[in-house]
């Protein structure tokens, strides 16, 4: 084979070979040359070869020059005495097969461009194979999909070693098509089961890839009758009935996929990721959402941020699917610890907590316990959280007038110590109703003026209408900072009248006491 220098030369050479193969069956052996380039080291050459292969086999598939049916082994056919055409077809089908295998290997190539090209070529083969099936239909109008090939593709995507998130984001656009989505779900379920069975310690990257693929599968929300297909003629197939995006089959596949995935021991980071998208893109599409209860309960019992996140899914199950959850409020009470003011999911948690505690049928002791515990925690909270939690507590008191003794108890006796027991896990026994919210009184001395004002609300009789905490949920310290900076001062800026002496200040300042410049 003559090859010019550089990729241009390679392209020209490959182009010649390609045309030769396509022009006459006599030149068929040139396919080997093309396939040989696929093994090259240079990614540029590989890409040229992949392109050439794509064009070659696409043309062959369209022409029907590949053997259809169960593939006999190459040697037996060549040795046997069938017709030359059949021999050619079987031989060519074997070449196609090895090409696909090579492309599948290329999905793990180091260069992303090669990966991308291999993926698109493979998907093109999938499309063409769907239209020109390489299997004999068992009956007329039988629904045929290149399961083997497609599964190989998905397997390539769910790599055990490499992080395929970029490639998966490329794959995402194929998932728009109903048939591809359906078959991806099936393939993914199989692969996850197989990998989990094969390895004792499943590598983290696999779970990550699997999650990326699974979360990319998103069922369309609205009912729309126009469904799109990647393999064109499949829509007419009667075999597709029920597998549409809103059919029971589709949902079932979706559910199987997720349940199969979630029943394994996942890394903690993945728990969080799954829980974050749970309420929005998983639960609504499940055939039987209540099956998710196992996973959610497990997550809820884990504690920490994961529990907070599981709350959302549980809420949907309780709210929309009549789930009975014993000791729900007790567990919720247990979730309250100082870290809730510092975690990333603070806004989500308080939004849900607001929902859970919005019922006016809750017993007073429960609400009082929550209010007392929150105000106790507020003693460790940063200002942005305080600005949210103080109105939250006040709202609780507004909703439940029986709890107002916490801030207004004119007949109460003076106590030696706070009767509230912070260590008690059961809100019923925390004796919150006998206590008062002294913590809020302490926070009236907070250094930030807005917090101090928010805490001073309890000094007067509480107003009737609740304060909406929705705008306060996402408040960050930087917003507070900007707001304070922009606030206009009516008069000139007041100045310190004690003259500065030096960097560390006066002698009785703490800085000067504890620090030196040298």
């Amino acid at each position: 084979m003559e090859r010019g220098p550089g990729p241009d030369g390679a392209r020209r050479a490959l182009g010649c070979l390609l045309e030769a193969v396509l022009a006459s069956r006599g030149e068929a052996n040139a396919v080997f040359d093309i396939l040989a380039v696929l093994q090259s080291e240079d990614s540029e050459e590989i890409r040229e070869a992949v392109r050439a292969c794509g064009r070659l086999f696409a043309a062959l598939l369209e022409r029907g020059e590949l053997f259809v049916g169960r593939l006999p082994s190459e040697d037996s056919v060549l040795a046997g005495s069938q017709g030359a055409t059949r021999k050619y077809k079987v031989w060519m089908r074997h070449r196609y097969h090895s090409c696909c295998n090579r492309l599948r290997e290329l999905l793990a190539h180091s260069s992303f461009e090669v990966k991308e090209l291999a993926l698109s070529t493979l998907m093109r083969f999938v499309q063409l194979e769907g239209v020109h099936p390489l299997e004999k239909p068992k009956w007329d109008g039988c629904y045929l999909f290149p399961h083997q090939l497609f599964k190989a593709v998905v397997e390539g995507l769910l790599s055990l070693e490499d992080d395929c998130s970029l490639l998966l984001s490329q794959f995402r656009e194929y998932l728009e098509h109903d048939d591809i989505r359906y078959h991806t779900m099936q393939a993914a379920t199989d692969i996850v089961v197989r990998v989990a069975n094969r390895y004792l310690e499943v590598p983290f990257t696999f779970w990550n890839n699997a999650f990326t693929l699974l979360s990319a599968v998103s069922l369309p929300r609205q009912e729309c009758n126009t469904s799109s297909f990647y393999v064109k003629h499949a829509s007419e197939h009667p075999g597709w009935v029920g597998r549409g995006p809103h059919g029971a089959e589709h949902r079932k596949a979706f559910q199987l996929m997720w349940l199969g995935f979630l029943k394994h021991e996942l890394p903690l980071g993945l728990y969080k990721k799954v829980l974050v998208i749970m309420h929005d893109s998983i639960l609504p599409h499940l055939a039987q959402p209540s099956l998710m209860i196992d996973f959610l309960t497990r997550a809820y019992d884990m504690g920490g941020a994961i529990s907070l996140l599981a709350l959302n899914g549980l809420f949907i199950l309780i709210h929309q699917h009549n789930l009975e959850y014993p000791d729900f409020y007790r567990k919720l009470y247990g979730l309250l610890d100082p870290s809730i003011f510092h975690v990333k999911y603070r806004a989500r948690f308080f939004h849900l907590a607001d929902l859970f505690l919005s019922s006016s049928h809750l017993p007073a002791y429960l609400v009082a316990a929550f209010a007392k515990r929150l105000s106790r925690l507020a003693l460790t909270a940063p200002p942005e959280a305080l600005l949210m939690v103080l109105p939250f507590i006040c709202n609780l008191l507004r909703r439940h007038p029986a709890c107002r003794v916490l801030v207004h108890h004119p007949l109460g006796h003076e106590l030696d110590s706070d009767p509230f027991d912070p260590e008690e896990g059961n809100p019923a026994e925390s004796r919150a109703l006998e206590s008062s919210l002294w913590e809020l009184q302490a926070l009236q001395q907070h250094y930030h003026p807005e917090v101090s004002q928010a805490a001073s609300v309890i000094n007067q009789a509480l107003s009737v209408s609740e304060i909406s905490i929705a705008p306060l949920l996402e408040l960050t310290a930087f917003e507070i900072f900007e707001r304070n900076l922009k606030k206009k001062c009516q008069e000139s800026v007041p100045l310190q009248f004690i003259p500065a002496q030096g960097l560390l200040g006066l002698q009785d300042d703490l800085c000067a006491q504890h620090f030196t410049l040298s």
Binding site: T380, A381, S436, Q441, Q501, L503, C511
Partner: protein
């Protein structure tokens, strides 16, 4: 529209007198001149304003008004120059002519009086007669007196003049005389007349002479009398006129000097000098006032724009370079929220101490500032000061205080030799940096001071902006110094004073600069926090900016445009920055110290700080039980940094001595040896425990004191239980814990909360709402604004109509005037033509008559 306005103005302008006239107008007796507007239905209680009208009178008034105004304008339409009578009250209709005259006279007198001289007290008012000075007239008479012939002097009587020269007036006069004469005796010739005249004048002359002689006698007598009295009035200065006459010829140098001195502006009498006690008292009052203002701001009382609040004075007051002395500061540092008389007394009692301090202070300063080790600095400085005096133009604007200060900083003078004396204010940060870089600390300070002095805002208009910029540049420079590898903290330490002074001069721009750097720092943090949820501790510069902000602005205010954001910034540092190394611990502790300094006066509660101290105590605890406390972000109960401050080396523990932490640790100083690192660890722990103790004292009055301190107490107990610390630290822990327990016992028992009693809400009443009917015939239902709007629209419409009517009438009037003018012109022409014809006819007639005569002849 312009015309309409003119018309309206005209109406308004002359409205008042017209109204006055109509008020005075008696009821017109003529029933034919009255127009009665008949009402269809009489309505009770309504005033009929225009029931009776007098069209004739009002029309006449309108015409009169127009002749006074519009017609005048019309006649002067082509004239560009205007004659204005500027006499006093000429156009004022409210003054009677007599009054006008009086006023004018008074004014004239005043003007004359003013014009002479303010110092001449003896001058009498000059009396005039017909505009001529009476004194002059008297002189005239004296002269006349010496010269007997009066006629030639020109005081001729009118009759005489008329007789001699026969003027027009005289002629008439003569005629009347003649007529009179004719009445008495008709035949009288011219000669007789003249003789009579001469006789008369001679008689007059004689009479006058006799009179004058009488007067002369009288004056002589008066003079003699005067001489008798004069001895009594010996002090009285001679008449100014006389003296003037005498002095005029010889203006003496001495006299001129005296005059000059006399006319020099004299110094205003001032208040007497204040005594020491008064000054001290005043100062104390001022400080008390400032302190009261600070307390009010701390409680946030004037948050809502209290207008009664006195203006904050500090900015102005400190402009006079006043430096508080020691005992005043002591007074201020006593700030438990009450300022009492006892304080004053105790201050006096402690005067001795403070005086000692006072004495020590300057020497300390000298020690600090005289970096020159050798004793020659004094000599140098002396020559230098002489140089200063010798070259006033190089440093001309040095204020006296500055000069004193310079004398005080003798050591610096040596460094001055190379430095120029005036500096242009830097226009950019690079410029400032190039000015300051490569110089020693003293030189840098000197440069900054000189820039400040040379560009004092009182010297030129643009200096204010320059110095405002200088503040920003200096701040940036400080930040640069702090971020460098070996931060020059000494320079920063001194520059802070300059920053303070600049800030006192320009509070607004200074606050803006500080806000700007703080915002920068926060923006950097924000990006990192959003990306990763945490951020490394920022460099030393941010910490120093925060510290400076706390020194330039009052930290105890309830709300302050600079310090409140700074507090938020520090809160972020304590909650978002994980402690990963010893440097972070030092930085965090420095932030804690600053935080507590910020709230030292207002005694406000800082949750983050308690959390942070808890975390620091935790990472220094050897065998953790984890009972009774929960760690909060950014600390973790386990992990590689959970034992950061642990010291296991017993030897290091034994050799440790408590010292202040160096700020250089915060800027990335590396520990040389392991021992050093361990010592720093122990120092950090000591600082932390000390801060805990401070917090305990500070927050002992808070209602939830127990709950706030519970975790700290648990950890301290653990520390004590371990007994691995050096004895000094152990003692500190022990004392802290005992304070904690004592405070806990002392703190008030838990009293259930009670809301303030609010005013009872009045019951809803069902009495109907009464609406006052203010104007009949108006819609009552609409809102007040709507009514007002309608009223305005109505008024506008009425005014518009009135204006249009006025314009129309003006035009009619003008047309009438033009017509009458034309008619007059025509009539005149006609008359003239007729006259011509007449004269021609007469001429013709005469000519014909002549011709006929000739012909007859």
């Amino acid at each position: 529209m312009g015309k309409a306005r003119l018309a309206a103005f005209r109406r308004k302008g002359s409205g008042a007198p017209a109204g006055a006239q109509s008020g005075r107008a008696r009821p017109n007796p003529n029933p034919f001149e009255v127009k009665v507007n008949r009402q269809k239905f009489p309505v009770l209680g309504r005033k009929a304003r225009h029931a009776v009208g007098q069209p004739g009178v009002s029309r006449a008034r309108a015409v009169q008004k127009r002749t006074q105004t519009l017609l005048k304008e019309y006649k002067e339409r082509d004239k560009s120059n205007v004659f204005t009578d500027k006499r006093f009250g000429e156009y004022s209709s409210s003054m009677s002519p007599e009054e006008k005259m009086m006023k004018r006279f008074a004014l004239e007198q005043q003007r004359q009086h003013e014009k002479k001289s303010i110092y001449n007290l003896n001058e009498d008012e000059e009396l005039t007669h017909y505009g001529q000075s009476l004194a002059d007239i008297e002189k005239h008479n004296d002269i006349v007196d010496s010269d007997s012939d009066a006629e030639e002097r020109g005081t001729l009587s009118a009759e005489l003049t008329a007789a001699h020269f026969g003027g027009g007036g005289g002629l008439l006069h003569k005629k009347t005389l003649q007529q009179q004469g004719e009445d008495e005796e008709k035949p009288r010739s011219r000669k007789e007349l003249i003789e009579e005249l001469i006789a008369k004048s001679k008689q007059e002359k004689r009479e006058r002479q006799a009179q004058r002689e009488g007067a002369l006698e009288l004056t002589e007598k008066l003079d003699q009398d005067w001489k008798e009295i004069q001895t009594l009035l010996a002090h009285k200065t001679p008449k100014p006129e006389n003296r003037d006459q005498k002095e005029k010829p010889k203006p003496d140098a001495y006299d001129m000097m005296v005059r000059e001195l006399g006319f020099e502006m004299k110094a205003q009498p001032s208040n007497r000098m204040k005594t020491e006690e008064e000054l001290a008292k005043e100062e104390q009052e001022r400080l008390q006032k400032l302190e009261a203002a600070r307390l009010r701001r701390m409680r946030g009382e004037d948050m809502h724009g209290d207008s009664r609040k006195p203006k904050h004075l500090s900015a102005d007051d400190l402009n006079d370079d006043f430096v508080l002395d020691k005992d005043d500061r002591r007074l201020l540092s006593y700030t438990d929220g009450k300022m009492s008389v006892e304080e004053e007394q105790s201050r006096e009692a402690s005067d001795g101490e403070s005086e000692e301090d006072h004495h020590e202070d300057p020497s300390d300063e000298n020690l600090e500032e005289s970096s020159d080790p050798d004793g020659h600095s004094d000599l140098d400085s002396d020559t230098e000061t002489e140089e200063d005096c010798g070259r006033p133009d190089t440093e001309p604007r040095l204020a006296p205080q500055k000069r004193l200060a310079n004398n005080g900083h003798k050591a610096r003078e040596a460094a001055r030799n190379e430095l120029p004396y005036t500096f242009a204010a830097p226009e950019s940060y690079e410029e400032l940096k190039s000015l300051l870089s490569g110089k020693t600390m003293e030189e840098q300070l000197l440069v900054v001071e000189r820039i400040k002095t040379c560009n004092h805002p009182s010297l030129a208009a643009g200096n204010k902006a320059k110095l405002e910029k200088l503040f920003g540049f200096l701040l940036e420079y400080v930040g640069d110094l702090a971020t460098s590898d070996t931060p020059d903290l000494g320079v920063i330490d001194k520059l802070v004073v300059q920053l303070y002074n600049l800030c006192q001069m320009f509070p607004d721009s200074a606050s803006n600069s500080i806000k700007f750097v703080l915002r920068d720092a926060m923006h950097e943090m924000e990006g990192s926090v959003e990306a990763r949820g945490r951020v490394a501790f920022p460099g030393l510069d941010v910490l120093i900016y925060l510290k400076i902000a706390g020194m330039l602005f009052p930290t105890s205010d309830f709300w302050h445009p600079v310090t409140t954001p700074a507090l938020v910034c520090m809160s972020q540092l304590l909650t978002k920055c994980p402690v990963l190394s010893l440097h972070d611990v030092v930085k965090g502790l420095f932030v804690c110290c600053m935080f507590l300094d910020y709230v030292s006066l207002s005694r406000r509660f800082i949750p983050e700080l308690v959390n942070f101290l808890l975390g620091i105590l935790y990472i220094a605890t050897p065998n953790k039980h984890g009972q009774g406390y929960t760690l909060v972000h950014p600390f973790r109960a386990s992990g590689k940094n959970s034992e950061l401050l642990l010291v296991s080396d017993e030897e290091d523990t034994a050799t440790w001595q408590r010292t202040g932490l160096s700020l250089r640790w915060a800027s990335g100083l590396k520990a040389q040896t392991k021992t050093e690192a361990n010592h720093t660890r122990l120092s950090c722990l000591a600082v932390c425990v000390a801060l805990v103790k401070h917090c305990v004292l500070l927050y002992s009055s808070l209602p939830a004191f127990h709950d706030i301190m519970r975790p700290l107490r648990a950890l301290l107990t653990e520390h004590l239980a371990n007994r691995t610390h050096p004895p000094e630290l152990q003692e500190l822990c022990q004392s802290t814990l005992s304070t904690l327990t004592n405070m806990g016992k002392q703190s008030q028992r838990c009293r259930p909360l009670v809301c303030e009693k609010s005013k009872p809400v009045p019951l809803r009443l069902f009495t109907p709402r009464l609406v006052k009917v203010l104007e009949f015939g108006r819609k009552q239902g609409s809102s007040k604004e709507e009514q007002e709007r309608k009223r305005l629209i109505h008024k506008h419409k009425r005014e518009f109509k009135g204006a249009v009517r006025e314009i129309r009438r003006d035009n009619q009037f003008l047309a009438r005037m033009q017509l009458s003018e034309t008619l007059e012109r025509d009539a005149e022409r006609k008359r003239k033509v007729k006259q011509l014809f007449n004269s021609l006819a007469t001429q013709e007639g005469e000519w014909k008559a002549l011709k006929r005569k000739k012909f007859k002849k």
